[in-house]
């Protein structure tokens, strides 16, 4: 029973971390999207969720569309990398425990040694 509780606790812990990571990914969705699009130089037309991004921008064409130019910020590329690593780790730990708790486990083959 003790073991059982410990596993519940662990599953809950990693589940919460995973949920928090996903929540922040979507809570800051517009910002993250903006950062992804402005990793290279971009022409941004419109604001927030409505914004349309053009890459390899041309100043005159951008102005004609009513947009503004944004210089690229290379380190924005770290956002997806860090998110991917963190979520993969937390979520991986959670799902393993989750299926275990659901009683699903790999078959053992006594006859095959």
């Amino acid at each position: 029973m003790h073991l059982h509780n410990a596993r519940w606790g662990k599953t809950l812990f990693w589940g919460t971390i995973t949920a928090l990571l996903y929540a922040s990914l979507f809570y800051y969705g517009d910002l993250i999207l903006h950062m992804a699009h402005t990793t290279p130089p971009a022409c941004v037309v419109g604001h927030g969720a409505e914004a349309v991004y053009f890459h390899k921008p041309d100043a005159a064409a951008c102005a004609a569309q009513g947009g503004h130019l944004e210089p690229g910020v290379w380190w924005h590329v770290l956002i997806p990398v860090l998110f991917a690593l963190a979520i993969s780790f937390a979520h991986g730990a959670f799902t393993g425990l989750f299926w275990d708790m659901m009683g699903l486990k790999a078959a053992s083959h006594p006859d095959r040694h």
Partner: protein
Amino acid sequence: MEATQFIELNAATVFLLVLIGFIGGMVSGFIGSGGAFVLTPAMMSLGAPAIVAVASNICHKFPKALVGATKRHKYGQVDIKLGIVLGVFAELGMLAGKHLMVGIMREFGKTGTDLYVSVIFIAVLAVVGGFVLRDYRKLRHADHDLPHETPRLARWIQSIHIPGTMVYFEAIKGRVSLLFVIPIGFATGLLASAIAVGGFIGVPAMIYLLGIPALLASGTELVIAFVMGLGGTFLYGLEGAVDVRLSMLILLGSLFGIQLGAIGTTYVKDYQIKLVMAVIMLTVLFSRVFYIPGYLSGLGMIDPIAAAHVATLKTLGDSVLAVALILGAITVLTALTKGIAEHRKADMARQLAASMAALAPAPGSMGSLNPGGRFERILLATDGSEYSAGAERVAVDLARRNRAKLFIAGVAVYNPEYATSVPGLEAAALEQARRNVAAAATSAAGIDHEVVITEADDPWRGIVDAAEEYRADVVVMGRRGRRGLARTMVGDATARVIGHAPCSVLVVPRGARAYEHGVLVATDGSRYGDAAAWSAGRLAAAAGLPLAIVSAVLPSHNEQRRREAVQAVERVKLGLAVGTPATGIVAEGRPEQVILDQAHHAGADLIVVGTHGRTGLDRLLMGSIAERIIGLADCPVLAVKN
């Protein structure tokens, strides 16, 4: 200026992405390969431009590869050095591929890259799907995994020495020229940049060109996937093409699916996995074909097709893709539920059998030993040849030590059908049998013994009959007889006696002596293993010898299986408690090799193995691992009947 749009996320697309990730992950966990050939087209079907689909796919894959690589490195299934070298050159291949993709995008627009990705998809899936199908047919006819053999091409490549380019790789266990490694890495990257699955080139190339075993190749591929994926995420990210929301939604479903798929594989046979793989690959290929006319028309390479027709074709393609995914999902889930049900049933039967055995321990049911660990009636089967010399020596010694009755059995082999037509045949056969046992009878002088001559048309039948008639506790015999010599490692007669005898069989190699240093028992947690352990424990205790309890795990076994092996060994150790020093060992490798190595380490000169039941017709019922141990051991092996 060009617009790079990510797909709009609403409740429906989020649900679909997670679902696609789940199914893709499940398929990928089941067939052991990226699954990107499902995910990339699916994302494209949801409206993501090819470049975003590929980039987001790569981004969801590399952290998964890192987790996988670390896990498999623990099991010794990864050559980090080779993985990094291949990964770095794959990175260059990917740069080249991306350059190509950007060039196509600039020249022909989104439709151009879509066409490029689709064509590569079709070509690669056709080739790889075909190979997998061939493997499936090969595997279906083999009843077990085929042993690894270095392909001829790989042997040739390994034999070429180009000064200044030779590098040692652990996976190859030798040196190979970098000039062969570089193109493999480069091609892997080039392919990955287009369809996000480089493993389609990397793994087969490692197997067929470098001669690396499949398990090691697929483990090392994870390192390549990580190096390449991380680099790829940076490269595509700098272009603003990575939609991390998309990646993470796919990952959300995929991580659930991949573990379910991987669990599913443990319930099915290898060839079934290959079949599912081939069917899914070829269906995805088929789905992509429907998009091609639309792309070609969009690029003006063929006569324009009405927009309505293009849309219809696209719907058709999407439907076929959906069918492929659903088909894969259903197959895996069916395998899983069916496998689990069968497994539970078998488990219950096993538990029932165990409890029945515990309630009523029938005499002879536990390896025919008396509770004191003694054999009371020993039957030596000999054909008087040099192959029986060890058996004669050990049987006499054993009878002396156990103060047992020794029956020395010779078989007069003749066919009664001919006996009537060939006068003197029976007499000659009987005379021969008597001569065969004479030497053994002489060396048994001073112990309670009896010479037994049986008549049969086959030696094994004569031995089994004698064992039954004289209620032997154990049959002692050589590994090969005269008849077995030209046949297999374990003679035909020996194999058949093990299969059909009513008691345990002690198989003694030519030069072996009676055990006096230690006993080793191989257990796999099954009731056969338990019977062997029981006998081994009693034997060791009676002789005052140390006991080693060994269980082998394969490199492919997961943590769960490994835990079970440890538990099996611990259970036997606790259950025996026979007052003799017992050590438990769980080691990785081919079971027979593990057991022989451990016997050597522990100084054990008697190996005890369990064999399958008494019914059946062929040597198969002896168990292939037991057969290999018996065939390779240089000490006596006791095959215990359950």
